[in-house]
Symmetry: C2
């Protein structure tokens, strides 16, 4: 990575102009800086005349965390590129197109999704997306099945595990999601009014046991190539299209982590509805929509995963009667456990979610936080015994 330097805006435009078959010669490109600047520079580059555009994402060699700049490997861009390439083959409809990749510059040029909206925003605005559950359930089934030992040549899969060893990014998840929230750590950001609930979580040894078992799976179980960070800011939606962005956390891990991250995020919005409508009926209706979406998401995932299994199992042993049922039940249990962990860490861990934090009214925000903590704890405690996605709905409905 000796040739690495962060691109100036002029260089970014020049680079975009040089990508073959994208912009017309001599196009007047316009650049907009849309990155968060914590991890990456992200530029939107467009040509009004032709209506063409792209996103340039350049990784920064550090990560701004706890006010400090922590060095962070640029290898994550190779990982993102490889994951986009693999998922693009398996699931082209949900994967942004890649136009160019420059390893030396830690740079990827990819499809502009400006006509889509971030899913978290859509949920906060109570939009209903009838195709979301089908699209993402299918994305999960296909990307996870086809990268697992169930479908792959088992020796090629090992080389892929090697190529996606991703210690620094996994470390962020292991620290901020799977460790700090269960200890009195300075990595937690706890609003004083919910301190009592958080203290109870810190003291709940039964809960810690479940989290430790889930963490063990995250640390050891190389089941499939995960997205690794599938929250609702990483899904872009318009009515007829659903795209999944941001693959730098990709690694071989337990399938339930991806599904659980997403369901946990949907239930955070469910918990946060307290703050987004004063109309009780409207709240109830949208909550019902969210639970229906969770149910459909899982159901779409499960039925497509089973269908792929029946059609593309790697060998005869995979088809042993009873194995698929045990496997899918375990995936459900992992999903439920990780969903619960995700909910807790996003309420009082280092990174929160807008669905709850943006609620201005302190009493409503507190209710939302307590809802999320109650649902999260119940999900984690149910993880080893669950047998149906309906149990998730029941847990949520019992709390709100």
């Amino acid at each position: 990575m000796t040739n690495y330097h962060t691109l100036t805006q002029a260089e970014a435009v020049e680079y975009a102009q040089g990508i073959e078959d994208l912009f017309p010669d001599g196009a007047q490109l316009k650049l907009r800086d849309i990155g968060d600047g914590n991890l990456n520079h992200v530029f939107h580059i467009s040509d009004q005349a032709s209506g063409r555009s792209l996103i340039l994402k350049q990784a920064l060699p550090y990560f701004k965390m706890v006010g400090e700049s922590v060095p962070l490997t640029l290898d994550r861009v190779r990982i993102e590129y490889e994951a986009l390439r693999i998922n693009g083959e398996i699931c082209p409809d949900q994967t942004p197109k890649v136009y160019a990749y420059e390893p030396d510059l830690a740079l990827i040029a990819m499809e502009d999704l400006s006509d889509h909206t971030v899913m978290r925003r859509r949920l906060m605005e109570k939009v209903r997306d009838p195709l979301f559950a089908e699209h993402i359930g299918s994305f999960l089934a296909r990307t996870l099945f086809f990268t697992s030992d169930l479908a792959m040549d088992q020796q090629e899969k090992k080389l892929r595990v090697k190529s996606f060893i991703n210690p620094e990014l996994c470390n962020i998840t292991e620290d901020l999601i799977l460790y700090a929230p269960f200890t009195k750590s300075r990595m937690n950001i706890v609003e004083p009014h919910i301190r009592d609930s958080v203290e109870r979580i810190w003291e709940d040894k039964e809960l810690h046991l479940e989290v430790t078992l889930l963490r063990e799976k995250f640390l050891t179980k190389a089941e499939a190539l995960l997205h690794g960070d599938l929250h609702t800011d990483n899904i872009f939606i318009k009515p007829d299209s659903t795209k999944v962005i941001d693959r730098e956390f990709a690694f071989y891990g337990p399938i339930g982590f991806d599904i659980g991250t997403l369901i946990g995020n949907m239930l955070l919005n469910y918990s946060g509805q307290e703050g987004w409508s004063t109309d009780a009926k409207e709240r109830t209706n949208y909550r019902r929509y969210l639970l229906d979406s969770v149910y459909e998401l899982w159901t779409q995932f499960e039925s497509e995963f089973r269908e792929l299994w029946n059609g593309y199992a790697a060998d005869r042993l995979v088809k042993t009667p009873g194995y698929q049922n045990l496997y899918v039940t375990r995936l459900l249990q992992d999903t439920i456990g990780f969903a619960g962990v995700l909910m807790l860490c996003r309420v009082y861990g280092y990174i929160h979610v807008a669905d709850i934090d943006d609620i201005k009214d302190a009493a409503a925000r507190e209710r939302a936080q307590r809802n999320a903590l109650e649902i999260g704890v119940a999900l984690i405690k149910r993880n080893r015994s669950a047998h149906s996605i309906k149990e998730v709905l029941d847990i949520a409905l019992k709390v709100v």
Copy 2:
């Protein structure tokens, strides 16, 4: 590996002479070719005058299997060297000393263990080794604990997983141990007189389910740095010393596979006692010794593993009450399951064991084979419910 060539005997002697601080200048070195020639050249090189000696092990770029030469990566020597280095630090008493390593030649010069005897021979000769269980139980506890997420920095562990991705050698295990024995495969070598029992195994779907679950663990669970091939030909013993050789199968896998491989081999000898003594009392006594050794091996492993855990746990969550008990019970269950699988594949799979195959009397050999199959099947079927090592002893005693 462009400089690789197989050493002539003269080159081997010259190389040995050049190793610093080993042989006196001008020593008259004597070479003995002791390799099997299927996978490696192994030379014993010694100087009678000084009494010094060493082993030179050079990997061959192929593997003779099913009468053919299958290409096999020389990278396995790097893996063996790295595993010897890591285990040598953790467990110097059970690890042969390494004098030199030549990556280009796929060559390791290591400690001569000619004053030790192969454990399989010792068992076949009914020798009792009172220190074996303690030595190897401790070796397993230390090498497996200290390379796991329980003890290691979890990011360093990931780099180690990467360095020990070992597709070609794992493939041998996956094919010959975890797949072919459960299908009508040409990779099995079935003596006609036990064909009926083997056919029953090929049709036993309940058994296949358990094997498939165990295989899933082998394929996905990066728990600790395993030896990967810990049978009784890879343990060298003299009364006061126990050494573990041959690390080329090393990879990150489920801890129970190593312990199970060894216990399975001990129970193959137990099953084979039919052929090694006409004195019923002698047979019974040695069988009792073997079961006592299995019990002590597990007990030593478990108590030392727990002690290391209590002293060296990587973080606070690992110390969560109840976690250690669940973890150790799972290790026992995996051990029992893999022990059973090992027993079956060594009776009618591609690679057999001398403890049974060398029994000249066909009726006694058949009894030995049927004993092993019966114990193996029972162990596999017990794998998910077992809670005590005593269950292994009970299963063995019920059969013979």
